[in-house]
């Protein structure tokens, strides 16, 4: 077990875990850096994919994007493993944290974690956490979205690691193996920012800026929908996807803005970074306002002004479009 492990709380689970892992294994990296360097900011609105009868809305790239891309981007070697055998997965985890004193990251479901508040337990399979030790039958866990460290017994953690469904974790376990000694941050950052700009400005109509506008259109249609229960659920579903799953959609914007701010310490176009960072912060604020309006309307459906709500989202998309057009040529 690690005795000197220090827990900290992050805005988002996956970037928090990767940032802690890299820092622990010798490469100091902040959460915004881990998030930005892997070009994780995104938007997707896929009405054909349904979750509990609601369309898929995502404010960042697919789960595992950070773990996968950090290898390629930084040239670090990360040990990654999924398991078929539940027993083997458990033995290996115990061996790593007990005998080898390693800090490891895991992908889990949220639903089966006993320390999660009951109201937060949904079948969301792409949660990430760190295990830093074991005491008796209990694993010592540093969950990046919690204020303090927590414990979880073997049985429940195993259940959470082998939950089925969309993004099934299959016991996914990971930790860095070796860290490169020197990194050319200027070129890494340039590439990462350009890549993210490209994905936000994609012509594909269900992603990036265009995806935001597509969602705005679908909100406008709610005005004439007579099914009050559906409208209420739809509006709050958007807010939950934005603010709760992982962290806020507004939250992801602030995270990226913080990344651009940090990128200014390297030899890049500082004016562009500063301006883009401000624009994306504004977009995050706008998305927060958007969430507020969605909830207000869901509370009082007779006062629903769908056009007003959709225009707030369009405003956020315009801010991001301006920012990423600028960043494209950094």
């Amino acid at each position: 077990m690690l005795n000197n492990f220090e827990h900290s709380q992050f805005a988002h689970c996956e970037s928090g875990v990767v940032s802690t892992l890299l820092t622990h294994y010798g490469l100091k990296m902040s959460e915004p850096m881990a998030f930005g360097i892997t070009s994780t900011l995104s938007f997707a609105f896929l009405p054909i994919i349904k979750l509990n009868n609601m369309p898929l809305i995502a404010y960042r790239a697919l789960p595992k994007n950070i773990v996968r891309n950090i290898e390629k981007v930084l040239g670090v070697k990360i040990f990654k493993k999924q398991y078929k055998d539940i027993l083997e997965a458990n033995l290996e985890l115990t061996r790593l944290v007990e005998a080898e004193n390693k800090l490891v990251g895991l992908q889990t479901s949220v639903f089966y974690l006993p320390y999660m508040p009951p109201n937060m337990r949904f079948h969301f399979n792409a949660h990430n956490l760190l295990v830093y030790g074991k005491k008796g039958k209990n694993y010592k866990i540093s969950d990046p979205v919690f204020e303090e460290v927590v414990e979880c017994n073997e049985k429940d953690l195993t259940r959470a690691r082998f939950a089925k469904g969309v993004f099934a974790p299959k016991g996914f376990l990971y930790y860095p193996m070796n860290i490169p000694s020197s990194l050319d941050y200027v070129s890494i950052l340039k590439k990462a920012i350009r890549k993210n700009a490209k994905s936000m400005l994609t012509p594909f109509p269900f992603a990036g800026i265009k995806g935001m506008r597509r969602l705005a259109k679908s909100i406008e249609k709610l005005q004439n929908n007579k099914d009050a229960r559906y409208v209420k659920n739809y509006l709050t579903h958007i807010v939950r996807m934005q603010e709760e799953i992982g962290t806020g959609g507004g939250g992801f914007r602030f995270l990226y803005a913080a990344f651009l701010q940090e990128a200014k310490t390297y030899d890049l176009d500082k004016d562009k970074l500063q301006k883009a960072s401000e624009l994306i912060t504004q977009s995050g604020d706008t998305l927060r306002l958007f969430a507020l309006k969605c909830v207000e309307s869901a509370k009082k459906l007779e006062k629903l002004n769908a056009k007003e709500i959709s225009e707030i989202l369009i405003k956020a998309s315009t801010l991001e479009e301006e920012a990423f057009k600028m960043l494209k040529s950094i």
Partner: protein, 133 residues
């Protein structure tokens, strides 16, 4: 978001925990701050209540011999058909059928056991389902 604008409302769904976001100071520097949002609270509670409503409605359907207890347990575990079908390892059209009383009555124990495992209950709790409030 500016540090001074960060919401500090109560969010009962987090059981006293506070989440973290990056906020910007007057000097333009970002750092992590705790926040609490009643907007998020409302959205979560709506989702939780929706499952409770579905459970209530399902109890009515069970009384009328339309829906099976499996449907009730599905909602109780906050699942939809696609999640449940991947947990029990059956195609969703089969699961959909098992949610109806007329098909449920003819199910053998082996299949009901699969559902019992998925919901973490005894097989009897599903087979001899009587809901006591």
């Amino acid at each position: 978001m500016k540090k001074t604008e960060v919401p500090l409302e109560n969010n009962s769904t987090l059981n006293g925990q506070k989440k973290v976001m990056y906020a910007v100071s007057e000097k333009g520097e970002f750092s992590r701050v705790n926040y609490g949002s009643s907007v998020e609270e409302f959205a979560t509670i709506t989702a939780v209540e929706e499952y409770q409503n579905l459970q209530e409605e399902c109890l009515e359907e069970i009384k009328q011999n339309i829906a099976s207890p499996i449907k009730y347990f599905m909602y109780k575990n906050r699942m939809d058909i696609s999640t449940l079908s991947s947990v029990v390892g059956m195609f969703s059209f089969r699961v959909k059928r098992h949610l109806q009383m007329k098909y449920f009555k003819n199910l053998n124990d082996k299949i009901v056991q699969k559902y019992a495992n998925a919901f973490g209950v005894n097989i009897e709790e599903i087979k001899e389902f009587t809901h006591v409030k």
